[in-house]
Symmetry: C2
């Protein structure tokens, strides 16, 4: 189990114990996500998951009905947290430019807090109904951010020589890349990381 | 076969025919890359590859010794093109800031030209010696770009309040995201796309 997932499982959600020795529901999900990331979801068998957990297949099925259900819950964990950022007061307060800044900061925070879940989400390719549903939610999220970029362009706080959709994709290209290289044990915390993303996204690397 | 790979296979490299009907060496590689992207490399069997190509397994082995060899060639195609950008005259001419701009533009061009190969490269997780070798080459490339960012910081053309390594990762987060959403059939060409990336990376989205 990696440092990131054991940190996450130390949260309040890990108190949902089933009264049996070994892993609780939450920890099983955490470890399943790690295995999906390492082996690829499609290539992961229920047997290999059970092996990793030191559980029999039937014990694993006692906790979760299927591999698909684990994927569904993991993707919901990531998408739910991203969508929640759009509902925070800061995502509706001030200028559209300030709202956009709030949403980008919030997205970086979610990526750091739920690194493994978002990593899995970003690897989803639409090979099943569950994956397609998650992709549709991602598109919905992207659309809302694109509208925010468009509103910021209309009010004059964001440049208009780049299309709002391309700008949004480049912004989230930067944000999402965090899952590829960010390590919670490294020198940079979530706040500093968000500052760096916002600086590049809004002001660019060039000195002036 | 997708629009992108059939466009690529129309290039000069597709003239390496083996004098037998059906696919040539190059086209087999193109299609294999598509299948690896769709199904995941680990989850792709030689049988499913052969099925997709309408070849017997032994006919496929006549062209390529193994699935691993196809992966190796595909990753070399992507990394070779990226490394070649660093050897272009523009990557050594002018200020470090100008060199960095040249390299970013070149990387966008490679991503668009070799979309499927780079897509595969970016999905590599280090599950085999071939994958680990490709990851090591990627790190070498990133290191060279990081040195360029550092030189641009030293000469005063790139801001110094973001570390060179983080700046490089955010830049390539933006650049690499192109493989996730760029479609050759869309309205934006490689040059316009490179302009947009450079604009966000160097000047940011904020109006001034």
């Amino acid at each position: 189990m990696s440092a990131s997932s054991s940190e996450e499982s130390a949260g309040p959600a890990s108190t949902v114990r089933r009264g049996r020795p070994g892993y609780d529901q939450r920890q099983i999900l955490e470890i399943a996500v790690q295995v999906f990331i390492e082996q690829g979801y499609d290539a992961t068998s229920v047997s290999s998951l059970a092996d990793r957990l030191g559980l029999s297949k039937s014990a694993l099925y006692h906790h979760y009905a299927s591999k698909e259900r684990l994927l569904e819950l993991a993707l919901d964990e990531a998408m739910g947290a991203l969508e929640a950022v759009l509902l925070e007061p800061g995502a509706a307060a001030g200028s559209a430019g300030e709202q956009l800044e709030h949403v980008l900061r919030g997205a970086v925070r979610v990526l750091v807090d739920k690194l493994s879940y978002v990593t899995l989400l970003l690897r989803v390719r639409g090979n099943s109904d569950i994956e397609r549903a998650a992709l549709a939610r991602r598109r919905g999220f992207d659309d809302q951010v694109t509208q925010l970029v468009r509103a910021a362009q209309a009010e004059g706080t964001v440049r208009t020589d780049i299309g709002a959709a391309v700008a949004t994709r480049l912004l989230f290209g930067m944000v999402n890349s965090i899952v590829e290289w960010y390590r919670p044990s490294g020198p940079e915390g979530a706040t500093e990381l968000a500052d760096d993303v916002l600086t590049v996204a809004l002001d660019g690397l060039r000195t002036r």
